[in-house]
């Protein structure tokens, strides 16, 4: 009997002991925020949206030196510029392959650009998935996320033709497998995002023409992007209507001095439709994602020297000359504008321009990938880059200029057989060129080539014009087939030689119309194959 009691007491005791609560195992992680508590308030929404801007800044104009692999210097501005016929790359095989149109699926920059753009889409999807349109801030931010998502897709579609359409944050089921969508689906999605953003009425506006402090994606910028999308889709009247919204807003204009573009003087200027913002801030240097100016600096490490009293504030210690102008571009400037046009001097220089800048060639050396010309547009200066720390540029980078909008408007007008003169002539007049009358498509193309050189529009322009005039075939046929080398001599003269590019893939081939999917993407996403088209 006694034993039975003891046994019962014992078992009861054990049951009590054994009923340890599982909640004891719920130990929250310190020092981090979790998904569950990070996406609730308006302030949270601002933080998630700022991450979108940051992701786009990284994609468009670089990540400074915060990573260490070959993709450190990669950004859309350089990447697209190198693919076009206004520039050539001297070093780094993956960059030279890009500028030779010998871009393989293993090219690390192809992977980087693809990754950066989808990372931006992902940041947008977080804003759109995690928040509900329940306050003014959230409604505005969701509209901004849609614009950035559309913008990222514009780049993805024009570069790769067909890509997976990701309109939500993916979950790990199916290992993130996703098939490419059709071009029609993708364009429809882009138009829908932009239209919804515009129609929400929540996007910001600049206060006036001189408002330098509008750091957000505005409604006018959304119109400009949708206009560019319509132009690409060959819906010219819709494009014109959208560009008209930008032009008609009178909130944008052309600045007087083209030399200021891409430097601190132009931060927030009336010509920038939208831009990547950075600050010259010693305590947050590495947070600015400045593109690595030293890489695209002139070849100062290779036998060039700038005098200490040079009129331009060169960062004249080293440099690789990554984006070198082609002779074709220089010649086009001379043919159109004569020897000393202000636009040419703000864009591309020849040897004859160096003495005025107090730059000399001081020893015998050779510059591979260079045809004897120097890019002056967005050449970094002492005010742009904290060069002592090599962190990258700290000035804003425009992603679209008003001049681009005017010229896209001009193009849409010409295609619709409406006079484009007003628009094209605004651009020409700023550079002191004679106005045109009855501008043709050829005029518009030439104007875009010169005005927007090194600004990552050319390759997509050529692709857009390909179906009308076969421009891509014509203009890129010999791109990169020969590698130029400029020999500088101590007397300051140069000679340029050309050798055949040993890479058999160099030069235009029909498959170059779109970029290859990155190797890792093909390996990991079974629904994408290299030949999938």
């Amino acid at each position: 009997m006694k034993t039975t009691y003891k046994l019962i007491a014992l078992l009861a005791g054990f049951l009590t002991l054994a009923s340890c609560s599982q909640s004891l195992l719920d130990i929250p992680q310190q020092g981090v925020q979790s998904e569950g508590n990070s996406y609730i308030t308006d302030a949270d929404c601002e933080a998630a949206t700022a991450a979108v801007y940051r992701a786009w800044r990284h994609a468009w104009s670089g990540n400074g030196e915060s990573s260490t692999d070959q993709t450190t210097y990669c950004n859309l501005l350089w990447f697209k510029t190198l693919m076009a016929d206004d520039s050539f790359a001297p070093v780094h095989t993956c960059q030279q392959d890009i500028s030779s149109l010998a871009i393989s699926e293993a090219n690390p920059w192809v992977a980087a650009i693809y990754e950066f753009l989808y990372k931006t889409v992902y940041s947008c999807n977080i804003v759109l998935d995690k928040f509900q349109p329940e306050s003014d801030i959230k409604i505005r931010n969701m509209a901004e996320a849609k614009v950035f998502r559309a913008l990222s897709y514009y780049e993805l579609i024009t570069l790769w033709d067909r890509v997976p359409l990701i309109d939500h944050v993916m979950t790990p089921e199916n290992n993130y497998q996703c098939a490419p969508a059709t071009q029609e689906e993708l364009w429809a999605f882009v138009v829908k995002d932009l239209t919804e953003a515009i129609e929400s009425g929540a996007l910001s506006h600049k206060k006036n023409l001189d408002d330098k402090d509008m750091g957000r994606m505005t409604e006018e910028a959304a119109y400009a992007i949708r206009g560019k999308v319509y132009l690409t889709m060959k819906e010219f009247s819709k494009a014109r209507a959208d560009f008209d919204k930008v032009i008609g807003s009178k909130l944008y204009g052309l600045i007087d001095n083209m030399n200021d573009l891409y430097h601190n003087e132009a931060n927030g200027c009336k010509e920038y439709i939208f831009e990547n913002i950075r600050h010259w801030d010693n305590s947050n240097l590495y947070q600015q994602d400045g593109w690595y100016g030293l890489e695209d600096n002139w070849l100062f490490a290779y036998g060039m020297n700038a005098a200490p009293d040079a009129p331009y504030k060169f960062v004249s210690f080293q440099g690789w000359g990554t984006v070198n102008p082609t002779k074709k571009l220089y010649d086009a400037f001379i043919a159109e504008e004569g020897a000393f046009s202000s636009r040419r001097l703000a864009s591309v220089l020849g040897m004859e321009d160096l003495p005025a800048l107090k730059v000399t060639v001081d020893q015998t050396l050779n510059w591979t990938g260079n045809e004897g010309y120097f890019r002056f547009k967005w050449l970094m200066n002492m005010d742009d880059e904290w060069d002592q720390a090599w962190t990258g540029r700290l000035n804003n980078t425009p992603c679209m200029r008003y001049a681009d909008v005017l010229l896209m408007m001009a193009e849409a007008c010409v295609r619709d057989n409406v006079s484009a003169d007003t628009y094209i002539n605004q651009v020409r007049t700023r550079s002191g060129l004679a106005p045109l009358s009855g501008a043709t498509i050829a005029d518009v193309k030439k104007e875009r080539f010169l005005e927007l050189c090194f600004e990552a529009t050319r390759w997509q322009d050529l692709k857009r014009w390909e179906e009308f005039e076969g421009d891509m075939h014509k203009e890129l046929a010999d791109k990169g087939k020969k590698i130029p080398t400029t020999y500088g001599h101590e007397d300051g003269t140069i000679t340029v030689t050309y050798v055949d590019n040993p890479n058999p893939a160099a030069g235009w081939q029909d498959t170059d119309i779109r970029l290859p999917y990155p190797l890792v993407e093909i390996q990991t996403n079974k629904l994408i194959t290299s030949g999938n088209d």
Partner: protein, 1032 residues
């Protein structure tokens, strides 16, 4: 006075003893010794009990004869039988009963004990006798060579350093430490336990034995039982050990002439003129060579005292021990030390017939003064670096130290410049011109200390409400207080900034660990007829809190011991502080069922369910379930076996299968996509430098993440023959570990972020383990020889194909050269990956094999291949014990075969430090060699330094111990109230047989992913040990 009395007594006793022998009346005794079946017992010892020197051995017919005093008692004994004492008679027929001790021997299993004969799993035991008298400082070392399938990885042999234990190969790309269970307390570090307080260690190797510990048992479990008091009169034992240690292998280094000749070969611009300059500057006298090994190394002394008391009666028992261990290693200046004070109190008491309580308590106070080792020269920015590599790489023409009036000009200038050069006790200046830091300066330049207190133990209560039912409630706890401290003096040791310090940085860190586990389990056994049923069920909850704080100052106020702390910053000092509390918890349910029929058929099944806390696994995936089954067949108990029984006393076949887990590589919320916040994320304004914070997920989440699982199949055999003289245990196992935690997995870019770690790899370990022993007694001569051997085949069988670069390279590399250790499908874990040397060209420069067939002959990443593997093909151990009267003699050796070592003491340039390699180098007259000509370390040469030319066979055979002991006859010692007095002397690690040219073939840079990589670490020392053990 007292001494004289003692002496008198001793003499008296001797005289009495002699007179007793002389005066007795002898009879002739003839007899036969048989077993219970009437078969003769051969080799049985028959001795006169009070005069053991008078005895005989039975012959092949079991017969013996001897003279003995009438009325004397004869002791008859033989291995495998219960000994008997009988009065001497002229004719004797003695029948010996079988000794069932081996059958009844129990072993500790998880949450219970089992008869050894009933075991169905693979368990190896190390007993107290394997530990006693060893000069080891840590318990882990006692496992080496004694248990097949247990290997040790040593990253340093300096005082206080703890080797890493691996059971049955290596089962993970991350940590694969076994679980230690000390008297039921789960521990991951047993370094503070005094080996002398250990009764036994059971290594649960197969999955079925270990499965009761579920998610922590994937890498094997080691059950440690501390000593308990035994019934009977209490005893007090005092053990003392004194050992002298010194370098086990002193490598032969280059002489000055050889060194200079090498410098000339490497650098044609270094000519006789430069040599003359060395002599003119007084750097070299043109003749002598400094042996930097002698400069750095001397003798070390270890003293160890252990005093213990134990006793017990029918109701309770106690065991108390105090131990002191004080080791000063072989590096000069006594700054490689390990001091440990330990205390153990174990007690239990049967309060009621149904209620027993008990406790096991361990306390340790320890202090280690460590030296930097295992770091490549010139590498990783560590101040006062690896003196083992320094001693080998310093030019021998450099003088060790200079008297103040004979200083070289440059050193005089350094002093004049206000640099703080160190002097020795005689005021001589250490050389600062060697290019490296002087070993004694390296040692003197910093004060380093790791020290603390560790208190751990259990309290338990056993309820026995019914016969056969025992319910246990047990509380286990650990309270650790671990501290680190360092202070860097101001000093100038050489030109390299790493060899000097102008500031006085001080650092302290403190970690306190508070752990408790509460376990409640019920054991039930019931026999009916020939059936025996056993059941166990229980639960466990554990909680651990780690509190970490650290502080640092960049400069102290004064270079004075009284100011050498964080509390005394200089005005310019930059302080820093850190602190964090981390909590983890586990909840488990477990159970076991045993069934046996007629001691022939044995069946066992276990099951454990473990829940990890949210820092380890996602909430929805936190439960792990770990089953196992095992079976045994004792063939020797079958009726049909009886004809063989006289030769084969025991034969059992075993088979087991089970799954175990490991969550040790999952700590720190690996699965979660926590949100990174960046306060300077993005600015929406051009006019002010203000930022909007950004939120972005750090990675993709992996809600599917789960523990690593080891699935193991084991077939075993236990055999005892010839009256248990011969015993054999053999096991074959196959252990497949899956779901390894793999980082750096590529996912499609559309996912938008980097992948969380995934379960993405499998490893297979297979092997055979054999333990064989023979023991016998011939008269009063006992001997035993036992050996064990374990083979291992380790292979990575699967790796997620999306892992970056399709293989994992170890992050532990060699400066300028890269990491040789790789983890890849189809290869042994962390195999050496590098280039193959094809030949040396006509200039003595290396030409590497162009394995990729690159038409341009470019040697790149694609030409790397497997050039070695750090894991051995087999390991073995051998123990020989002899005993005769009071004399005992033990030889213990262990070995490893088929493991490779990657030798890398010097990596900046291709310059040789070891003479035997130097002698093999290419010269115009010695062209048939693989050792390239000395030269500067530029790119192609660095690839050669990552080639198979630097992979050496690391196989070795080491005689770890040769010990001779003498136990004084008790009749002498009893006079001074000593029950037992043993003296011993031992030579430990004196003999090593290996082809490896480096300092120690047992050294690895780290135990996880740089196994077999030798960057120069504190090598195993040899020790001369003297000891005494007294029991009152």
């Amino acid at each position: 006075m007292k001494t004289i009395n003692c002496l008198k007594a001793l003499i008296a006793v001797c005289l009495i003893g002699i007179s007793a022998t002389v005066s007795a009346q002898n009879i002739r005794v003839k007899g036969t010794v048989t077993d219970k079946d009437g078969l003769p017992v051969i080799g049985a010892a028959v001795v006169q009990k009070d005069a053991p020197r008078n005895g005989a051995i039975t012959d092949s017919k079991g017969e013996f004869s001897l003279n003995a005093p009438s009325g004397a008692v004869l002791s008859v004994s033989s291995i495998g039988y219960v000994g008997v004492d009988l009065p001497a008679k002229p004719e004797m027929v003695i029948v010996l009963e079988d000794d069932n001790e081996l059958l009844e021997e129990v072993v500790v299993v998880g949450y219970g004990v089992q008869r050894k004969s009933d075991l169905t799993g693979a368990i190896s035991t190390v007993g107290a006798e394997d530990i006693q008298g060893r000069s080891i400082s840590h318990l882990e070392q006692a496992l080496q060579g004694k248990t097949p399938g247990v290997t040790l990885i040593t990253t340093s042999a300096q005082p206080g350093a703890v080797p890493t234990v691996r059971v049955r190969g290596i089962a993970s790309n991350g940590t694969s430490d076994p679980l230690y269970v000390v008297d039921g307390l789960l521990m991951d570090d047993i370094s503070s336990i005094d080996p002398n307080s250990i009764e036994s260690m059971e290594v649960l190797k197969d999955a079925a034995s270990a499965a009761i510990y579920g998610a922590q048992a994937g890498n094997g479990v080691i059950l440690i039982t501390t000593k308990k008091g035994t019934k009977g009169e209490g005893s007090i034992t005092y053990d003392f050990q004194y050992s002298l240690s010194s370098l086990a292998i002193k490598p032969q280094l280059l002489t000055s002439k050889e060194y200079i000749s090498q410098a000339m070969e490497a650098n044609p611009t270094f000519t006789d003129d430069d040599v003359l300059r060395l002599i003119e500057q007084g750097t070299w006298d043109g003749q002598s060579s400094t042996d930097w090994m002698d400069v750095a190394f001397g003798n070390g002394v270890t003293m160890r005292h252990t005093i213990s008391a134990q006793g017990g009666n029918d109701r309770g028992s106690y065991y108390i021990t105090l131990g002191s261990y004080d080791e000063d290693g072989m590096v000069k200046l006594s700054k490689d030390t390990y001091k440990r004070l330990t205390a153990t109190i174990n007690a239990d008491y049967q309060i009621k017939s149904w209620f027993k309580v008990g406790t096991t308590l361990d306390y340790a106070n320890y202090a280690v003064s460590p030296l930097v080792d295992g770091v490549a020269l010139g590498g990783s920015g560590v101040r006062s670096p690896n003196i083992f590599a320094i001693a080998m790489a310093t030019p021998p023409y450099m003088q060790d130290r200079y008297a103040p009036d004979q200083l070289p000009e440059e050193m005089a200038m350094q002093i004049a410049d206000g640099k703080k050069l160190f002097t020795d006790d005689e005021g001589n200046y250490y050389n600062t011109l060697t290019g490296l830091v002087h070993p004694e300066v390296a040692v003197k330049s910093a004060e380093r200390k790791n020290y603390g207190n560790r208190f751990s133990g259990t309290l338990f209560a056993n309820f026995t409400p019914l016969k056969g039912l025992v319910a246990t409630s047990r509380l286990g706890f650990k309270m650790y207080d671990d501290n680190t401290y360092y202070f860097i003096h101001e000093y100038y040791g050489g030109e390299n900034f790493l060899n000097s310090s102008e500031t006085l940085s001080a650092n302290r860190s403190h970690t306190s660990t508070t752990y408790y586990q509460w376990e409640n389990f019920v054991n039930y056994t019931h026999s009916f007829g020939r059936h025996t049923l056993g059941a166990m069920a229980g639960m466990s909850y554990s909680h651990n809190t780690n509190l970490y704080t650290a502080s640092n100052i960049s400069s102290a106020a004064k270079d004075d011991p009284l100011f050498a702390d964080v509390h005394f910053p200089a005005g310019t000092s930059v302080p820093s502080a850190d602190g964090l509390e981390l909590n983890t918890a586990k909840l488990s349910y477990f159970g076991r069922l045993n069934y046996s029929f007629a001691d022939r058929y044995l069946l066992e099944a276990t099951f454990r369910a473990d829940a990890a806390d949210s820092s380890v696994l996602p909430k929805d995936n936190r439960w792990g379930f770990f089953p196992s089954v095992s079976a045994g067949w004792v063939i020797s108990n079958e009726n049909f076996f009886s004809p063989l029984k006289s030769a084969v006393s025991f034969l059992k076949l075993r088979a087991s299968w089970g799954q175990n887990g490991s969550t040790s590589n999952l700590t720190g919320y690996l699965y979660a996509n926590s949100i990174n916040t960046n306060p300077a994320g993005y600015s929406f304004t051009n006019t002010t430098t203000t930022y909007q914070t950004t939120f972005s997920p750090a990675q993709l989440s992996n809600p599917e993440l789960k523990w690593e699982t080891s699935e193991q199949l084991d077939f075993g055999l236990d055999l005892r023959m010839f009256r248990d003289r011969l015993s054999l245990t053999a096991d074959w196992f196959k252990k497949d570990t899956k779901d390894l935690i793999i980082q750096n997995i590529n996912v499609p870019y559309e996912a938008g972020n980097i992948s969380a770690p995934v379960n993405g790899g499998n490893i297979s370990n297979t092997g055979i383990e054999v333990e064989l022993s023979w023991k016998d007694q011939i008269g009063d001569f006992f001997y035993s020889i036992s050996g064990n051997i374990a083979t291992l085949k380790n292979e990575v069988t699967w790796l997620n194909p999306n892992v970056s670069d399709s293989r994992i390279m170890s992050p532990t590399g060699i400066n300028f050269i890269g990491a040789p250790s790789a983890f890849e499908v189809g290869y042994p874990i962390w195999y050496f990956r590098g280039y193959k040397l094809d030949h040396l060209d006509e200039n003595g420069d290396p030409v590497l094999a162009n394995l990729s067939g690159d038409p341009d002959g470019v040697i790149d990443e694609n030409d790397k291949t497997m050039i070695g593997k750090p894991l051995p093909d087999f390991t073995y151990g051998l123990t020989l014990t002899l005993g005769w009267k009071g004399i005992d003699f033990t030889v213990f050796a262990n070995g490893s075969q088929g493991n490779d070592m990657f030798l890398c003491y010097n990596n900046a340039n291709l310059m040789y430090t070891l003479k035997n390699i130097y002698d093999q180098r290419w010269t115009p007259t010695n062209t048939n060699t693989r050792i390239a000509r000395p030269q500067a370390g530029t790119d192609p040469v660095r690839k050669y330094m990552l080639s198979d030319a630097w992979v050496f066979d690391g196989s070795y055979f080491r005689i770890k111990q040769i010990q001779l002991g003498y136990t004084l006859p008790s009749k002498w010692t009893k006079v001074v109230a000593i029950d037992r007095l043993r003296l011993f002397a031992s030579l430990d690690n004196y003999f090593l047989f290996t082809a490896y040219p480096g300092l120690d073939p047992e050294i690895s840079t780290n135990a996880v992913n740089a196994i077999g990589l030798d960057l120069g670490a504190y090598p195993t020392s040899k020790k001369m040990v003297f000891g005494v053990s007294v029991t009152f």
